[in-house]
């Protein structure tokens, strides 16, 4: 394995929801390498999303350290976190989070306008196979298409890491497989380190490594000797 992209040391997150105290992450240690595809598996509330959010600079840990390459994310100001997200991170969310008032093309352009070295929005959409539908609004696209727009939006700035939270969670299996295909294609072509959260155990087979989460900790790590192609998946 080459240089780690992410290094976590005793990463901990607790927060208060309503009147309940939640330990979302409990002293997690972790390293993720360049170009790696990592799948995070585990039940709801096991800490996957919290880890992803902290890696993406959307949230801060309560204690512990998290490095992106040699950048310590833990102490960054809001402004620096924003810059980090803008320059290095692409997000894919379960519910796509497209801006409903913008077309597919414009949703991608939303990112390319503020990125340092973006690809053209049309190219990003072509990468996800949506060049034909780039002037449609989200409401005119199917769920799978919307998710591919979200992926195009995420990769258009050529991020170092692509963080995907349940990217297939709202999709049927056929569409879900197409989306995984797109993610793996991007990983192959651009070498983007990819972290995927899922409930779907089948998806683990496409990963280099699988981290199993329970109660805010990594309970088990599984390394796949050979990644399978998305087309070989069923669920």
């Amino acid at each position: 394995m080459s240089v780690p992209v992410f290094t976590a040391k005793a990463l901990t997150k607790t927060y208060v929801s309503g009147e309940v105290m939640v330990h979302a992450l409990n002293e997690v240690d972790l390293g993720i390498a360049e170009k790696e595809v990592v799948v995070l598996l585990g039940p709801s509330g096991s800490g996957k999303t919290t880890l992803l959010n902290i890696m993406g600079g959307l949230d801060r840990p309560t204690s512990g350290r998290l490095f992106f390459r040699d950048l310590d994310l833990t102490d960054l100001e809001d402004r620096e976190l924003t810059k980090y997200r803008r320059d290095h991170v692409g997000f894919v969310f379960q519910f796509y989070n497209l801006v409903p008032s913008l077309t597919a093309y414009e949703n991608v352009a939303l990112v390319t306008e503020v990125a340092r070295n973006p690809m053209r929005p049309a190219d990003a959409l072509a990468l996800v196979g949506l060049e034909e539908r780039m002037h449609h609004f989200p409401a005119q696209l199917s769920g799978g298409e919307q998710q591919r727009v979200a992926i195009a939006r995420a990769i258009a700035k050529r991020p170092a890491v692509l963080l995907c939270d349940e990217p297939t969670g709202a999709l049927d299996s056929k569409t879900g497989i197409r989306v995984i295909e797109v993610l793996l294609g991007v990983n192959r072509q651009l070498g983007t380190t990819t972290v995927i959260i899922t409930h779907n155990a089948s998806i683990q087979e496409v990963a280099d490594r699988v981290l199993f989460f329970a109660d805010g900790r990594i309970s088990r790590i599984q390394t796949n000797e050979a990644r399978r192609e998305a087309a070989e998946l069923t669920w």
Binding site: L58, T82, R85, F93, N97, S101, V111, A170
Partner: protein, 787 residues
């Protein structure tokens, strides 16, 4: 164009109804300011231009008879720029086919050379030929009221003799913008005329060859009016001069001033209230509107947009709304302002109108609205932007609801679940509920303050025409008459009762403050014209001492029991001190009242009268009119019923028109507020309401949950709204009170009912729109996305 800006325009389009509703609120505030201040400024500038171009004089005086040579000596008074001497006389008219008595102010025109001051603006025809005693120019409103054009004839009783006159022209004059006949309160163009005649002709009639009876003086810039008045009085004293006075006591100017003052005060009182209310409401609305964007803000942050660029984006959104509002308000306000200016210009018979441009008003109104909106947006953004994006993208954590009452009291046994939801929702957001209530209360309040003038005017009419001045007519004499003229009047056909009136001009002084007023002497037990106190009870005047208008007491800072100084401006011209024994509730002018016998003793004169108040037999009015026209000593006759009709007509223009416009704008604001409130509540609770639908609630039930809250808050808002409305009305009444006219603060129940009805109608209309929205609520979409 940047993608964020595309988003902006699409958002504006998506939310067009709300954008428009907020813009209307902004526009309502802006329009009131632009309209009121703009029209006042236009009329003010019109008047200034009129006065300047036609040489309106600064100081005026009347004498019995003074030689024309005196004019040179008047011109030598330091500070005097120009002098015009003339003959001015009041006389009765006899107009063919018009039975009611009419009167006219006759004014001489120089036969050689031009008028220096108070120059005529000839509207049609020409000036009279010098020496032609039958040729006259009349004021245009009088000619129009009778349909007279050049060549028309009417008669006048000049110096006791009836003469036939022929109209050769019509004119306007800066001196007679507002023409009020003797003894009258309101202008009556049919019954009061200004008639200009050749000086030679008028001098011949009144035996004033080489003499004058009135003088007008123009001051040099910076000259002291008081100084000139004193010197002029000294000069004219020997010729039977009555105290000279400045523009302030010139009837036309004073009334014009009063009307413009009223307009100005309205524009200083209502628009700021409207603008502030609008600003507050815009602030509230935008806070909630932006707060709804929480998830999108979180997303933009996740995508790497900086806080600054997100804040800028939403500021643009808000700015867009405000700009629409300012444009709408500016256009509406300007249009209304031009209409109001034209309406008033027509009422005053201004020969031309100057429309003042007012960029500063747009700026003021715009800046205030924009600032309020920006602060509103900022409040919401500050909350959202400081959240980590991961949190912002999720819906807010379920707010902590609490039991309202101890657990053993089962509230849900008493009220239904939807009602419980509504109550908890209000209790959970007490600040928001309070602000919403305050917003609706303010909507009610500005309606009340727009509507109350009508009530106060009705009260004024009741007191003035039905409690105090109950005479049917009053006859004013050109010169004071010995008291037995009352017997003579009593014998006229149709006269049921007659009361004499003695009027003496005085300067009243308390400390350093002085005013020029008239003291009326009235007989003990006068029943036609009565004095009314603040509790609306008739006052019996004591045998000595002075009663004065409450307003005058306020101006002088004197209360009953204290003494004032009086300069008697007639007869022996003494200065005396006199106790004030009562203050009087009256709404027109400032004046003093005394027992007629006490006044006679004060003046050290034989019993004399200036006018007689009458009660008439309505069936014999025509006989009375005919008889009075043949009395050579009569200067004018005032008729109460006609006066009241004229008052209503004038008030309808000045007050009702303005009040209607303001009420309309207030209604627009009220609708904007209520609609936005309901609409945003719907957005904030869309998911919750859709969940209820999924659980099997009907549309009606869901609508009820949403609207119940609106209804409750609307209801709660009304009493404070009435209270605030009353408070604002008090502020406005106080600002409008002037020496010429004022009102008592009266707000009828019906006014509150109307104000509340408008707000309730706005709520119902909003509910109807919301209902459509609920019907279209996409259950699956709402539940699927986010969360």
């Amino acid at each position: 164009m940047k993608v964020l800006d595309i988003k902006l325009f699409r958002d504006v389009r998506r939310l067009w109804a709300q954008v428009l509703a907020v813009a209307l609120v902004v526009g309502g505030g802006v329009a009131t300011l632009v309209l009121a201040a703009g029209s006042h400024r236009s009329l003010e500038e019109t008047r200034t231009a009129y006065y300047e171009r036609y040489g309106f004089a600064d100081v005026f005086a009347q004498v019995k008879r003074a030689p024309k040579a005196l004019a040179d000596r008047i011109g030598e008074i330091p500070g005097v720029a120009a002098v015009d001497t003339r003959i001015a006389k009041l006389a009765l008219l006899d107009i063919p086919g018009f039975s009611a008595p009419a009167s006219a102010q006759f004014v001489s025109l120089p036969d050689n050379g031009e008028q220096h001051l108070n120059r005529l603006y000839i509207r049609s025809g020409r000036l009279p030929e010098p020496g032609r005693s039958e040729e006259v120019v009349v004021n245009e409103p009088f000619a129009r009221a009778h349909g007279f054009s050049e060549g028309a004839r009417f008669s006048a009783i000049l110096n006791g003799r009836k003469r036939e006159l022929v109209i050769v022209g019509t004119a306007l004059s800066p001196e007679f913008v507002y023409t009020v006949g003797p003894g009258d309160l309101m202008p009556d163009d049919r019954r009061y005329a200004i008639v200009w005649m050749s000086e030679k002709a008028l001098a011949g009639v009144y035996d004033l060859d080489g003499a004058f009876s009135a003088v007008a003086v123009k001051l040099q810039p910076g000259a002291s009016e008081r100084e000139v008045v004193l010197r002029l009085d000294a000069l004219l004293d020997a010729y039977g001069g009555q105290a000279a006075h400045g523009r302030k006591d010139q009837t036309s100017h004073a009334w014009l001033d009063h009307e413009l003052d009223m307009l100005n005060n309205m524009s200083r009182t209502l628009p700021p209230i409207f603008l502030l209310v609008a600003a507050f409401l815009v602030n509230l609305t935008l806070t909630r509107l932006v707060a709804l964007e929480r998830e999108q803000i979180g997303l933009l942050k996740a995508l790497g947009y900086s806080d600054g660029s997100i804040v800028l984006h939403y500021f643009k959104f808000v700015a867009f709304i405000v700009v629409i509002g300012i444009v709408l308000g500016g256009v509406a306000g300007t249009w209304l302002g031009l209409r109001v200016t034209a309406l008033f210009g027509d009422f005053f018979h201004f020969p031309f109108l100057v429309f003042a441009k007012a960029p500063d008003l747009y700026l003021t109104a715009g800046a205030l609205s924009a600032a309020a909106a920006a602060i509103g947006a900022f409040r919401a953004l500050r909350e959202v932007v400081k959240l980590p994006p991961a949190v912002a993208m999720q819906p807010p954590a379920p707010p902590v609801y609490r039991r309202l009452l101890p657990a053993r009291i089962q509230l849900d046994r008493i009220v239904s679940q939807p009602t419980l939801m509504m109550i908890r929702n209000i209790a959970r957001h007490p600040v928001r509920a309070a602000f919403t209530t305050l917003g609706m209360a303010l909507a009610t309040a500005i309606l009340v303050v727009s509507l109350f003038t009508r009530d106060s005017m009705e009260h004024l009419i009741d007191v003035t025409y039905f409690l105090a001045d109950r005479q049917d007519a009053s006859i004013g004499f050109a010169e004071k008459r010995i008291a037995n003229v009352v017997e003579q009047v009593n014998r006229l056909p149709g006269v049921l009762a007659a009361e004499p009136f003695r009027e003496v001009p005085v300067r009243i002084r308390h400390g350093s403050i002085e005013r020029r007023i008239t003291i009326s002497g009235r007989p003990a037990g006068a029943d036609l014209r009565r004095i009314i106190d603040i509790d609306l009870r008739p006052v019996v005047l004591p045998e000595t001492g002075l009663a004065i208008s409450g307003m005058l007491a306020h101006i002088l800072g004197v209360s009953p029991g204290e003494t004032v100084e009086l300069d008697l401006l007639e007869g022996a011209r003494r200065t005396v001190t006199m106790p004030v024994v009562a203050t009087v509730e009256d709404y027109f002018g400032i004046r003093g009242m005394m027992d007629i016998e006490a006044l006679r003793k004060l003046m050290r004169e034989a019993p004399v009268v200036n006018s007689v108040n009458l009660s008439l037999d309505g069936n014999r009015a025509e006989d009375f009119y005919a008889a009075v026209k043949s009395m050579p000593t009569v200067g004018g006759v005032a008729l109460q019923r006609v006066s009241l009709a004229n008052f209503r007509k004038t008030v309808a223009l000045l007050v009702t028109t303005m009040a209607s416009i303001y009420t309309g704008l207030a209604a627009v604001i009220a609708f904007g507020v209520v609609y936005n409130n309901a609409r945003i509540s719907l957005s904030e609770r869309a998911r919750e309401l859709a969940s209820l639908r999924v659980l099997g609630f009907t549309r009606g039930e869901v609508l009820r949950i949403l609207l119940l809250e609106l209804a409750i808050l609307t209801a709660i808002a009304q009493p404070p709204g009435w209270l605030m409305g009353y408070g604002l009305a008090w502020v406005m009444k106080t600002n409008l009170a002037g020496e010429l006219m004022r009102v008592r603060l009266v707000v009828e129940h019906s006014t509150y009912v109307v104000a509340t009805s408008v707000v309730v109608l706005a709520a119902i209309a909003s509910a109807a729109v919301i209902r459509e929205r609920i019907d279209k609520l996409d259950l699956v979409a709402v539940l699927k996305t986010r969360d």
